[in-house]
Symmetry: C2
Subunit: 356 residues, 2 copies
DNA sequence: CTGTTAGCGCTTTCAG
DNA sequence: CTGAAAGCGCTAACAG
């Protein structure tokens, strides 16, 4: 009696017993090895047996236990992704692109966000390592200075591909756009529109993306004989709130600047809103350009001149490169891919008719 | 000589041999079981031995092989997420919220998107099952009519929580907002602003979110003695492109409608842009309201009246509920959580001064 | 507190 | 084409 009750409790708390290849084997009076072979696509099994195996599996509700097979095979079929934040327009595009490619190739995707914190990034990396990912895609956190937390992977022969926020040595595979050149073009465009006092809103200079955009801005000024003025560079976190603060700073500058080039759209859009509220005319009083081509950039009035740079595509390219590296593993090459971008000129910067 | 070369090739192609607890055990002259215990946080190991184990592990670059431990423990510590699309503002918020909670609790997150396709959704579910997820979070695809592809999980005692796009039987745990009530409030607000001919832009009526919003709209009309007119309901995919098309249809209606209530912001924003371009004044000629509080809703001019409904929070709540269900597993309860929303009134609908 | 032992479910030689 | 057997790395009784 006592025993019976225990048994019931036992049944209640434990999930139903898993169906294994042994169960199928027993039912069909064959060996587990044959079942295993039959379940795979490879040749080397009698067609008929194979069919019987497949049918029995379906009927019994068999689902391969991926842990057992991964343990055995030493391949996880998992790709890990670590990004600074998941809730940004750009990143969600990238992730969608990655998911597309990766799931087409029948890999599983595990994702985590560093929240711009190197400690958490390292923690995620360790978790990914324990999960024995076959490859890793990383966009670095705001404050990541070294990448030693990824060295394990490289030692172990697991490829790591950085994208967008990449690490600047030439030893690791990386995907990015030419931020320097893009910023140079935007700034030149503003200059051609007659701007002479151009403010630059930028972010943490430890990061390639912001540092390169800053350099492009600076060089464009120099090449057009416009003196660079450090006071016209505003470094912040580039959030919406930072944009509003930047606007206040701009309004206090004397003489008033006649152009703004920001390293992202989100920030400059709220900056524009404040400038407009304070009575400035865009682009007549002050021309504006951003970076990223966020959806908002063609909603705000006037529409924002910006750099278009396709996140979805970047995700796809990164995933493809990673998978390529996975197949020729061991050779940890440092291929870099520079993607195209596009300068989109809209009203916010157009002071001389239509051409740039 | 020959042998040597082979050896080199061998070393090149294979990843370095994994460090296992046996290696640590051998080095320390203790048993693997002790190492295993030492590595865990549990009591029952000599402090000193534990320290030696930890040190050796760090020194040797040991990383627990999660597959072996998962195979043994029959717990994966993995939570699966299936959503229609990853690249939407709302979903990326939800995912960020989920990631936050889940990673706090030391779970791994695996993510896939159904691309609004039930077949792919079922495929993802099967992959999740093979990965033996401990719990599953799902927002259903556009064309998902039945949820039998999730029955395995339930049979096996793995909790499944639906969110936002939920399944309408009361047997499964679900998180959502009261779409009916929210739509009722928006519509009532438009009526109170003097609208009498209100167009409704909506999506697939198989989905709870759109069907409920439609019902709320209809009921509000009825309760205010406004006749419901089927011709004023436009069903589409609710994309930006669909919004522009809807605008064209609206412009052809006679007499011209004086209000638009859309089941999402994205769609109604491009609709507004077309209406504005055609010379209509918002809200004077036609008042507009949306749903979701996308970032664009406070950039467009006039700012858009909408329903705010926090994706990040929904993600957190869904993850927490799931984890709760995981702990009391076996009892597959069907707890439903109805989250709050907020009607945000902005200029796009304000025709009578400030109050609603 | 520590060691011995068995086994999670699967794959893969190696023989037949 | 199929079966027997070993083992991937880890953990949990159980016994000491």
């Amino acid at each position: 009696m006592q025993k019976n009750i225990q048994c019931i409790i036992h049944t209640m708390n434990k999930p139903e017993k898993e169906v294994t290849i042994y169960d199928i084997a027993k039912k069909l009076n064959i060996s587990a090895a044959t079942v295993s072979r039959g379940l795979q696509d490879r040749a080397g099994t009698n067609k008929d047996t194979k069919k019987r195996i497949l049918d029995a599996a379906a009927e019994m509700g068999y689902h391969s236990n991926s842990f057992a097979s991964k343990l055995r095979n030493k391949r996880s079929n998992i790709i890990g992704v670590i990004v600074p934040r998941l809730n940004s327009v750009f990143m969600s595009q990238v992730i969608a692109g990655i998911e597309k490619e990766v799931s087409n190739a029948n890999f599983t995707l595990i994702i985590s966000q560093s929240l711009e914190n190197m400690k958490k990034e390292a923690g995620s990396a360790a978790a990914m390592y324990s999960n024995r990912v076959d490859g890793l895609l990383v966009s670095l956190a705001y404050d990541t200075k070294s990448i030693e937390h990824f060295e394990n992977f490289i030692k172990r022969g697991t490829p790591v591909v950085f994208f967008d926020r990449v690490y600047e040595d030439k030893k690791h595979a990386a995907i990015y756009i030419d931020n320097y050149k893009a910023a140079y073009e935007v700034t030149t465009h503003l200059i051609e529109q007659g701007c002479k006092r151009i403010v630059h809103l930028t972010g943490n200079q430890m990061q390639n993306v912001y540092a390169d955009r800053f350099k492009g801005y600076k060089q464009a000024l120099t090449d057009h004989q416009i003196p660079f003025n450090e006071d016209m560079v505003i470094i912040s976190g580039l959030s919406s709130a930072d944009g509003a603060i930047a606007a206040e700073q701009i309004l206090k500058m004397k003489p008033l600047p006649d152009g703004v080039f920001a390293a992202n759209d989100q920030c400059v859009i709220s900056c524009m809103q404040v400038l407009k509220k304070e009575g400035l005319k865009i682009p007549e009083d002050i021309a504006v350009a951003g970076f990223n081509n966020d959806p908002v950039s063609c909603i705000i009035e006037p529409n924002l001149t910006t750099i278009n740079y396709k996140g979805y595509e970047m995700g796809q390219v990164a995933a493809k490169l990673l998978m390529e590296l996975m197949y020729k593993k061991g050779a940890h090459s440092a291929e870099n891919v520079v993607l195209n971008y596009e300068l989109i000129i809209r009203e916010s910067s157009l002071r001389n008719g239509k051409k740039s």
